[in-house]
Symmetry: D2
Subunit: 352 residues, 4 copies
């Protein structure tokens, strides 16, 4: 029985993980820590959890929070929280899983580049842990995740882009500066924090691009694709929000270095992911949409080639709160705890 403590338990990421752990046969939640609604049962605030998780929400300073046993401490917190706490977690013999950018990079320089790009302090608070940590995308770093004391859960957009282009990068199919990631997310991708742009009446019949000047996920994607390619990859990234609750559709373009048939492209992708239980690969005629992955941990990839212009085009579909967050987190927890990767995650979606 793996014991899990969740810091930042009442954001979408935290609640999502509670839901998954409540149905997991080998995991137990030992404490929930958050800033809001302290002292109330989590199921009072989120009545859908009634009977599934009735733990109290504790303040970070509450002794019960510190004393709760944990094999894995999950930080579902913003940037620059987990980096100050992970060392203490390790000192107590536990492992840490962080949902922010804090442990997605394995050198202080890479972190600094990331932090600089979106206006944060470039100095990492626990540089001694960088290098020991793993990037928590199991499809690419399964073995590292099993061993690492600290894992950085991927960003949701990044997850969809990396899974969508990793096979082509690994095979060096495309010109490495030609990549365009046109990404669309449902509104839950922006989190639980209220914003005028996400007030129902303003969002309900609206879509828009945002943060055109630069998005924090670019670094993650360029770094991971570069690792696969063995050479720097450069890309243009556009973030767009559309009126769904859940779902990311990332449409990925890259200029092929040589002609490639659609059948060969699909075969290459299927081979790359043959041992990945949560990635499904399709050709351009399959009727795939975000509804095929909604509320599941799957990533569905639709691979096509625009022969007229010599471009590879991959449409990558995930649920931003599952494969893009809590689902990947549980996949990582399973690996970190030595459990089967799919435990508690093998649910089909519900239609419609």
């Amino acid at each position: 029985m793996v014991k899990v403590k969740i810091i930042g338990a009442t954001g979408y990421g935290g609640i999502g993980l509670i839901e998954l752990l409540a149905g997991h046969p080998e995991a137990e939640i030992t404490a929930l820590v958050a800033r809001e609604d302290v002292g109330r049962r989590v199921s009072e605030v989120y009545p859908h959890l009634e009977g599934f998780c009735d733990l109290p929400i504790l303040d970070a300073a509450d002794p019960r929070a510190a004393e709760a046993e944990a094999d894995i401490v999950v930080f579902s917190t913003p940037d620059r929280v987990g980096m100050f706490e992970a060392g203490k977690v390790l000192a107590r013999g536990a492992k840490a899983l962080d949902f922010s950018g804090d442990f997605r990079f394995t050198t202080p320089e890479a972190y600094a580049d990331y932090a600089t790009r979106h206006g944060k302090d470039p100095k990492h608070a626990a540089p001694e842990l960088l290098g020991k940590n793993a990037y928590g995308l199991a499809e690419l770093h399964r073995e590292a995740i099993k061993k690492a004391p600290v894992v950085g859960n991927p960003g949701c957009f990044a997850c969809s882009c990396i899974l969508g282009l990793a096979p082509a990068a690994k095979a060096r199919l495309f010109e490495p500066t030609s990549v365009i990631c046109d990404c669309k997310t449902g509104v839950s991708g922006a989190g639980k924090k209220l914003a005028a742009a996400h007030h129902f009446p303003a969002r309900h019949e609206n879509m828009n691009a945002y943060r055109l000047a630069g998005h924090q996920h670019v670094c993650e994607v360029e770094r991971e694709l570069g690792l696969q390619y063995g050479q720097d990859v450069r890309l243009t990234f556009t973030a767009q929000v559309v009126p769904l609750c859940r779902g990311i559709m990332s449409t990925l373009y890259a200029q092929l270095l040589a002609p490639l048939s659609e059948a060969d492209a699909v075969a290459l992708y299927k081979d790359f992911y043959k041992d990945a239980p949560f990635v499904r690969v399709y050709g351009p005629d399959a009727p795939i949409g975000t509804n095929c992955v909604s509320r599941t941990n799957f990533c569905d990839l639709v691979v096509s080639v625009d022969a007229r212009t010599g471009r590879l085009r991959v449409v990558s579909y995930i649920d931003n709160l599952m494969k893009g967050q809590a689902g990947s987190a549980l996949q990582n927890i399973n690996l970190m705890a030595g459990l089967p990767e799919t435990l508690g995650l093998m649910r089909s979606g519900l239609y419609p």
Copy 2:
């Protein structure tokens, strides 16, 4: 291991039951029969089922359909299909569960009344089975369902109304001709069949009442409430469709025969449902909405009293495709097969 065959497998009810059975530890689907997409794997047509159910869709006339073993045959079919088939199912030693109105009434007269009201042939095709059948609302007929060879799964609106007023009817709290059921359903309540009124652009920012002249669910509700009350109950019923996918919110009004405090009303409801694992009772301040029950088998009841006018008002929330259809069906299958009532159904919803 209970073996289940599904006739009408590709409607919302059929697919919903496939999803639930795919995650059920003690059930196995042995055959899928439908009219559309015959010969294709169900997961080709509904890719979210890939890896969860890959059975072929069979024509009703396909010998494999008839030969497939089954302990329970589910008819997820329109009115006047199951009534012609149920006898054969029983003759083979299996039980039948029907999703239509065919087995919701236990006398030919009650069936005729129901059929007449919505313009169907009043003559039941298997009158010899009426009386042996059970109305499949486990909260009211648990023991009968366990024993009955044929069970009629409730209508979705009816389920929400009956659960919402049964405790008050049983306690004879209200004037039996004073009941008003103001019911709102998400669009999936109208099924998978295409209709101009449910084309996305026409429905997306629209709501309306429909079939004002009379709704087939009235009979079910009046009959079941009358059974609880021990006297005829008469009600006005309004069906309305609102732009959600899933969810029913039924607001139920009844004139109290004597003053009643809100606390007493809530207590009476909690007591009535103390052994019902899928009904949760709340007072008027609980933050309940359809999202608390969405994609689950729960019915959440918010009980209030309008003291100024002496009215009981209960707001009943269900997921029309779960407690209103496939969820209740699995609850019935569990009971019919002698399994624990909650097996494979105790999932929390996912937020948001």
Copy 3:
């Protein structure tokens, strides 16, 4: 050319009125006052107004706000703002139109009853104006509105309920304590203020009843229906929110005192509204939904009789931000300024 100044210009009501006045041939906006975004052009903040209204947003204390000429000053402000300002408006020779509850009642006692019910100070700040003011529902008070120096624009729910039952009340068709108003509103009815319950992800696939203990609109409806009936009317009111942006559907029930045919009910309603350009009356088979009135000033009424239970049932459809707010406001402005009632308002909706 009627000159209009808007106080509270950047809420939904204010913006809605700007949009309408920008397309009005005989009106001119002279100043916009608000608390937020002061100093910016309104079209910078609301780019859809670019080229239609580019006035700056002024602080209430800005001398330009006070000095701007106005024939009518509109208070699109919360309760207990307009009542302190209306006297000054009148002293300058202008008229006042208030969107809150401040001038919906014509005696201090009626105001006190209203204010008490929803926890506000029961003492009106300008009791000397009560009695001179008019309730701004043109269909019932056209002549009074033309003459009154102060008009209280109706609440959106109240508008739909009063229009839906006034003909039957006038004809004393129903038992006056038997009325039930089951009302559903799109989310814009809750205004522009951010709320967790109206964050897109939380609202998108959710509906719920709220404020079950009592709603401020009850007083307005009981008062106006009582005036038509000539006797006190008592009702149960339920407010519910559904995931549309715009639209109210109020389903209204009342126990008939004598049998009434549907045709007679429809005829009586058509006659009552024969001179009302914005009310359209239909029988139960017309395909009416909120989409028929969306973004227009119409109220569509679907009249039916449930003969089994002897109940009148009227479904009343409006756009909560048009007939329920800015549209009624312009209708009132037209009347107050001696212009044709329909000027600038006779637009069809856009489909779909």
Copy 4:
């Protein structure tokens, strides 16, 4: 008073044009022709038109259809209808405006290329009219539209892409084979015809790319951009559908031939469109979304440069049923009839 006859009056395009013409001071609808609902008043079928247009729907063979006077006959019909009728219209001294691909190309060869790409007969039925016709995008072909006897209204996706890249093409800013058009449309873009993919429950929380193998709009965009550039332009086009009713967001990418500042790019676009009343140009920080153009004839362009990768990126926002169809049609009708281009079209959107 320009007299307009509409063939195909009950699709989205036809109804949209009726709505606009009903509010137009110098236009009159003389006949409505359609296949469905023949003999009924259009306002019976579309109640929102009640009082705005109550004309009967005529069969094409009805003598009243042929006899109705018309200065302009609008074909809101599928491909290969208008091309058989336009000659007769001209013979009667009227002009024709066609909503399909029939008159979007000015040579038989260009038409054949277009028709071939999406599997239609490549032979145009009225080749003698090609060359006399104009492409109905007023921003690029204003003078030609004024004079042409036949005008081909642009496709909705094409309109958004062409407006978004024409200034950069004209200035030869980008490598002409580097263009990517990543286009997202609301569901009304697929028309009124029922489809399983656009049934509300299937579409409500879903988005997907479609027709990846090729889209008919590519030809239009390549041809028009090529005309501006003075050289062939080649592009990759992706069509995607998202759960809005109305709105297109096209994100357009092109590799710059030389470094360009964002300010210069914006200035160049503003200059290009300085005489276009319906195009508004913004820099990357403006809060533009489809809601700014919804239910209006505007195209809002957000211009940005990704300096890291040397790419121009333009996000083009239109309402697919207005600027993308009926709005552009009225703009063309105004020009064809010698009226001011903006007549009856200068409405702001309504917020929210």
